[in-house]
């Protein structure tokens, strides 16, 4: 029974992911920080599935599927952007700034 510590670890990992998204400009590292946040949420699901039934683990299964799809499409978009600007640094992607 490690519900409390698991939730605390999940909160810490999610916060690290958010700080990473705010801190980095490399689009690929940004994506990895999003994956870190998804992992933190998965830990919450697994921790609660221990006491509330196995539906939480099924939800983790779905989260992983969606994360895999998101990574495939996101990395393809990054590839297309790299072909366009020769960089994955977000400071070079400023078309919306006018």
């Amino acid at each position: 029974m490690l519900l409390g510590p698991s939730l605390l670890l999940s909160a810490v990992l999610f916060t690290i992911g958010v700080v990473g998204v705010l801190l980095r400009r490399n689009a690929i590292v940004l994506f990895m920080c999003v994956e870190l946040m998804l992992n933190a949420v998965n830990l919450t699901f697994v921790a609660f599935s221990q006491v509330l039934g196995l539906g939480g683990q099924v939800m983790v299964f779905f989260v992983m599927t969606v994360a895999a799809a998101e990574a495939a499409v996101g990395l393809a978009i990054i590839l297309a952007i790299f072909r366009h600007t020769r960089s994955v640094d977000l400071k070079n992607i400023n078309l919306l700034q006018g």
């Binding site: 490690l2 909160a11 916060t15 958010v18 599935s49 006491v51 297309a80």
Partner: protein, 186 residues
């Protein structure tokens, strides 16, 4: 060693790896530290009696998804770029936002765990969810008669059958979309 001690060691490993992941200048080093975080999380899942999820975590996350990331990093050759970590003002803002978010999450964890214990008709007084749920009722009872995989397959293919089928359409769309986006000319 007790399970709690193992959990705390793995948790420290996961947090340190995650911190190194967001502070490494080299994108490839970041990816490898993220893999290390995912392996520690897989070990924690085993401690939480979610063995199937632990195996899937290693196979899908640390295996497939991170290999995709490493492929793209090496394909674009962005390892040797100058530091992409933002300047001091953004760092301060990021730390403040992080501290606020962490405080909120910890507070939320305490409140919701306590109220959940109340709604389950727990014995008043302690307010801790541990008193509401005796040790591992759901986690330990199910795998005993069905096996670890069968216990997950049963809700997955009965209650969540329609979402499961929709996932396959999502994966097909993602595969087609990734090919279309990454192709030079259609």
């Amino acid at each position: 060693m007790s399970a709690e001690l193992v959990f705390y060691i793995l948790a420290a490993f996961a947090v340190v790896s995650a911190l190194l992941c967001i502070t490494q200048r080299n994108a490839l080093a970041s990816a490898l530290w993220l893999v290390s975080t995912m392996f520690s999380l897989a070990a924690i899942y085993v401690l939480l009696q979610a063995q199937f999820i632990a195996v899937i975590q290693v196979l899908v996350y640390a295996g497939a998804v991170m290999v995709l990331f490493v492929f793209v990093i090496m394909l674009l050759n962005v390892g040797r770029s100058p530091s992409d970590i933002r300047g001091l003002p953004v760092r301060i803002v990021a730390l403040l936002v992080g501290a606020g978010l962490l405080a909120q999450l910890v507070l939320l964890g305490r409140v919701s765990a306590g109220s959940m214990a109340m709604s389950q008709g727990a014995v008043a007084g302690a307010g801790s969810p541990m008193s509401a749920f005796p040790a591992g009722v759901a986690g330990a009872a199910a795998p005993a008669d069905q096996g670890v995989v069968g216990a997950i397959a049963e809700p997955l293919f009965r209650t969540y059958l329609v979402p499961f089928e929709i996932t396959s359409i999502l994966l097909l769309a993602a595969a087609v979309g990734a090919v279309v986006l990454a192709k030079r000319k259609l």
